[in-house]
């Protein structure tokens, strides 16, 4: 067998590249699509990609919560908002605003800086082995009622207030 110039990718790496490709395509659709509904579809693809990346990183609980909250709730809300304001979608001149040229420059610069930053630091190539997934979920549960109990309760309050506030804001007063 001839010597390859680069090491053969492992199955995990191939899966990672596929999922990351989905996510990047979705993110680009969000930014570039003229039709806002297509942007929302791209957003769903990006959310699925993120969930897949969590699964590759063996964080199953986060991955499934991501699908549940982002795909199930947040994209549905966004799609509803798009449909309720759909007078905005047709006949609009350009999806970009006046400062989009500057914005593109800033974004490109930010990406280049981040890339440079990532490539200068020797990051670990592999994490420690993870055994039982059940123990992680149990640990998450315990952390939420022990050291993180105050933020957890505050979060519950925040969700309640947001729920009530959203209803008050969006209600038709007529």
């Amino acid at each position: 067998m001839p010597e390859l110039p680069f090491p053969l990718p492992s199955v995990q790496q191939v899966i990672f590249v596929l999922i990351a490709g989905l996510m990047i395509l979705g993110a680009l659709t969000v930014v570039l699509a003229r039709n806002l509904f297509h942007s929302a579809l791209g957003l769903v693809a990006a959310f699925f990609g993120a969930a897949g990346l969590y699964l590759v990183a063996e964080a199953e609980f986060i991955g499934v919560s991501q699908v549940l909250v982002y795909v199930g709730a947040i994209s549905t809300l966004i799609t509803f908002a798009i449909m309720l304001t759909r007078g905005m979608m047709f006949g609009a001149t350009s999806p970009r605003n006046r400062q989009s040229g500057t914005a593109a420059m800033i974004t490109l610069l930010a990406f280049v800086v981040l890339w440079a930053l990532v490539s200068t630091i020797p990051w670990p190539q592999a994490g420690e082995a993870i055994g039982d997934g059940e123990a992680i979920i149990a640990g998450l549960g315990r952390a939420f009622v022990n050291e993180y109990v105050v933020p957890f309760q505050l979060l519950a309050m925040l969700l309640l207030v947001a729920l009530a506030g959203a209803i008050v804001l969006a209600r038709d007063r007529k």
Binding site: F61, S65, L68, V71, G72, A73, T76, T79
Partner: protein, 410 residues
């Protein structure tokens, strides 16, 4: 012994090299997924046949009886008819969402197969978050309905899509909370773990009848009602409401794309029944299922088909509810009741009492929930009965195209 372990061992015995372990595992899971998905497609034909037979018996008809034994092949003929139909796409449709929606709806349903425990070692993969995974899959169906409603570029489809999403989102909350009751009782989300916890030992013999439905009937009832709504079955089949919304969000779909929505709906009600069986009716457990492994799948399928027939029975007998009644029932009855139930269960289980008294108290709380739900439903059907009687009175003007005096009706 797990089926996947058996299959992997078989491949090594046939001479697969050890260093290709990822390929061996890949082949194993591909075979499993292939077999399960195709079995589900064949199953759908059987489910449609059962629906037709049950409903026609309720309506005093015979149902399909021409093709094959007992008319079993009628659905095959219908599938061939749908396949050979012209595939129409509206010119103004939004192509990507119009084409993706049927695929997504079938995918969301089929993915549930991965965690359904059919037998002792017969499960696609025993995720330690199995229950949460099933809940998350519901969001795929919601997205599919939205995409179909929007992509068809038809106002009826869009309206129906809105209604379906509102229905699915509202009933997801009581369903998830009811599924939480057995999960919190046992402390695991793994499907096999939940099934194992429902064994009942009489001496050394596992009779397998320690079903959660005997301890948590209230949670089971709420799950079942919410599952009817999630599966878009009568009395909550507002999605189909032929007289109001023509056929729901898939009005613009024809041929095989329509068949995919149809398939997803039937399989979804079957799988929601299978989840009910796994969480509340003992899964594959039953007398002597531990001794004879073959009995496990038989018990599981028998129970699931029984639940499915009950769903079709309800389809044949119940009237359809109005949308405001349906949403009100979810938010004003089911959600508060199931929240109170979960709270009561967790407080009772922490009381410093003997365990059997704790369990008795949990059972009492559940029975109170059952009584409340049945009472509310009874009141509703009684008032509907009075209304419909009044509508068919000889002097009633409803439906006669004549102006109804406001005082004469009441």
């Amino acid at each position: 012994m797990n089926w996947s372990d058996t299959l992997i061992q078989l491949q090594y015995d046939l001479g697969a090299p050890q260093e290709l372990s990822w390929l061996v595992e890949g082949i194993t899971f591909f075979v499993g997924a292939f077999v399960l998905a195709n079995a589900a497609l064949v199953l759908a034909l059987l489910l449609i046949w059962i629906t037709r037979k049950v409903v026609s018996r309720i309506q005093d008809r015979i149902g399909p009886n021409r093709l094959g034994p007992f008319g079993l092949f009628q659905t095959v003929a219908d599938a061939v008819k749908l396949l050979s139909k012209e595939d129409i796409k509206p010119t103004t449709a939004d192509t990507p969402s119009y084409l993706l929606a049927p695929v997504l709806s079938v995918m969301g349903v089929l993915m549930a197969l991965a965690v359904l425990p059919i037998g002792a070692g017969l499960i696609g993969t025993d995720l330690n978050i199995g229950v949460l995974y099933l809940v998350a899959l519901g969001s795929l169906g919601i997205m599919a309905a939205l995409m179909a409603g929007w992509g068809s570029n038809n106002k009826y489809a869009l309206l129906a899509g809105f209604r379906v999403v509102a229905q699915l989102l509202s009933y997801e909350i009581p369903m998830v909370l009811a599924m939480l009751a057995p999960v919190l009782l046992i402390g695991t989300m793994s499907m096999q773990g939940l099934v194992q916890a429902q064994s009942f030992f009489l001496g050394p013999v596992n009779l397998g009848v320690g079903w959660f439905v005997f301890l948590l009937p209230g949670a089971f009832l709420i799950y079942f009602i919410a599952a009817l709504a999630e599966a878009e079955q009568t009395p909550f089949d507002l999605l189909e409401a032929e007289s109001e919304l023509i056929a729901g969000f898939h009005i613009e779909y024809s041929g095989m794309k329509f068949a995919m929505f149809f398939l997803a709906q039937f399989l979804n009600s079957f799988f929601l029944g299978a989840i009910a069986v796994t969480l509340f009716l003992g899964g594959w457990q039953g007398p002597f299922a531990g001794q004879i492994p073959l009995l496990g799948p038989i018990y599981f399928l028998a129970k699931t088909f029984l639940v499915y027939v009950v769903i079709q029975w309800i389809k044949g007998t119940f009237p359809r509810v109005r949308i405001d009644q349906m949403m009100g029932f979810a938010w004003k009855v089911l959600v508060p009741l199931v929240l109170a139930l979960i709270l009561a269960q967790m407080v009772i289980l922490k009381l410093p009492l003997p365990l059997w008294i704790n369990y008795l108290l949990v059972l009492a709380a559940n029975l109170a929930v059952v009584a409340t739900v049945l009472n509310i439903m009874g009141n509703y059907f009684q008032s509907e009965q009075i209304r419909s009687k009044r509508a068919f009175e000889p002097k009633s003007l409803i439906g006669t195209m004549q102006p109804v005096q406001s005082s004469s009706g009441d």
